[in-house]
């Protein structure tokens, strides 16, 4: 019951602060479950296929969680944020929960492609708004700085990804 209470507070009463680590992990696990089911439906996978998606997405979600949190935390610190690394991790995990609704969005897509698309876009927008709000709250950043923090983190994460591709190329081809 404590976990469910924690999930409720994390999702619907985010003003209470970031969730505890078990609640954050449970929230991400639910997101992973729904996203893997969506992928399994799209690829018409078997049970083993769904398990494959689940573990693959679990790995992706864990890496993405770390990646995005690291980028957000770096930019937030540069903009004068005061939150800890744990706060940033919690804020990111807390922000992703609307992705659970994509199961319903995909269901709607079957009956009305336009409505399903609007619903899907709304979910993505909701996640972005959540991220800005939660990081701003944890790092005590005012509205504009929180938006800048999110934008900067995305740019930083993409640059880091580019570096991750170019660096091995440089080492392999240049040596």
């Amino acid at each position: 019951m404590g976990l469910i209470e924690g999930l409720y507070n994390s999702w619907f009463r985010s003003e209470l602060g970031r969730p505890s680590m078990p609640v954050a992990v449970a929230s991400l696990a639910l997101v992973c479950l729904v996203l893997s089911l969506n992928a399994a439906a799209m690829t018409e996978s078997t049970v083993t296929g769904w398990l494959g998606w689940f573990f693959l997405f679990g790995l992706g979600l864990a890496l993405g969680w770390f990646w995005l949190s690291a980028a957000l935390h770096t930019v937030a610190q540069l903009l004068g944020g005061v939150g800890s690394v744990t706060d940033t991790f919690g804020a990111v995990a807390q922000s992703l929960w609307p992705l659970i609704l994509t199961g319903a969005a995909n269901g709607i897509l079957r009956f009305s492609p336009l409505l399903g698309l609007v619903f899907s876009l709304a979910i993505n927008l909701w996640v972005v708004v959540n991220l800005v709000r939660c990081v701003g709250r944890e790092h005590q950043l005012p509205g504009l700085r929180a938006v800048l923090c999110f934008g900067g983190a995305i740019v930083l994460a993409e640059l880091a990804l580019l570096g991750l591709i170019l660096w091995p190329l440089m080492v392999i081809l240049g040596m």
Binding site: T43, S45, G103, A104, N106, G107, R110
Partner: protein, 317 residues
Amino acid sequence: MWRQDRLIALVLIVVCIIAALGNWLGNVPLQAPAPTMDTPGRPADVALIPINGVITFAGESSPLGGGATIGAQAVLRSIRRAERDKVKAILVNINSPGGSAAASQAIYRELMRVRKKGDIKIVAAMADVAASGGYYVAAAADHIVANPSTITGSIGVIVQVQNLTDLLKKVGIQTVTVKSGKFKDIASPLRPTTPGEIDLLKDFVNQSYQQFVDAILEGRKGKINREELERVADGRILIGSAALKAKLVDSLGNYYDAVEQVKKLADLQDPVIRNYLAPDWRESLQEFFSFRWANGFPDQPLRRLVEWNKIPLALME
């Protein structure tokens, strides 16, 4: 006690998870599949369906290299896809010694169904070998092209039963069989086959053979009659040139000659030919995630075929 708003929130989340589960279990594509394209901007005119290896229902290829069997299920799906994409012709490229009677028959019937509609022309090209079940499939084509040295024919059905009683006696193994009817352990290798069982198996083989012959006569109506067919349908193998004389094939040539026949029959100038048996990206992903270690051993489906079918009714060269 939980407040009402919490309960509603919880129910909503559960509904979302159930919706995701329902999407998956419903197994219904979210969007209509796009037509298969070969050249950008041009839909395929000809669906190429290669039939390589032993024909079984659950064909499997080895990820370690080399396909061992061709799955009738995959072939049926590719024929349906070709029909959905409104191709003008189907080119069946056969390199198979045959396989299970049911799987070969299933492919034949599906091709005949498409052929009878009249919108799609079917041409069969024979490679090294297109015998028995392989020929069964080819018989559904409007036109069959064989290389002069292609091994074909082998029109017949075979059931083989081993008698291991002497061997078992030597190693001291005794078997006790309890059965509900006298034919329940028919074709058992643990005892000699009885005359009654031989009669039953003969009847069984003859029925399947008759279906095979009737299928060829239906597929090659107006090209070969029963008398002519029965002369060569005694299980013998023929090379392509002899098969042409025996009216089992329509012309001699290679794959490109078969393409020329497709162009002639379907009235096409510069057709886009696409391999319809190649899985699309969704099927590839599904295959990847449905990987089983057994797939690494290409002989497994054949062994299973023998294990499952107590009487291994096979159309094999």
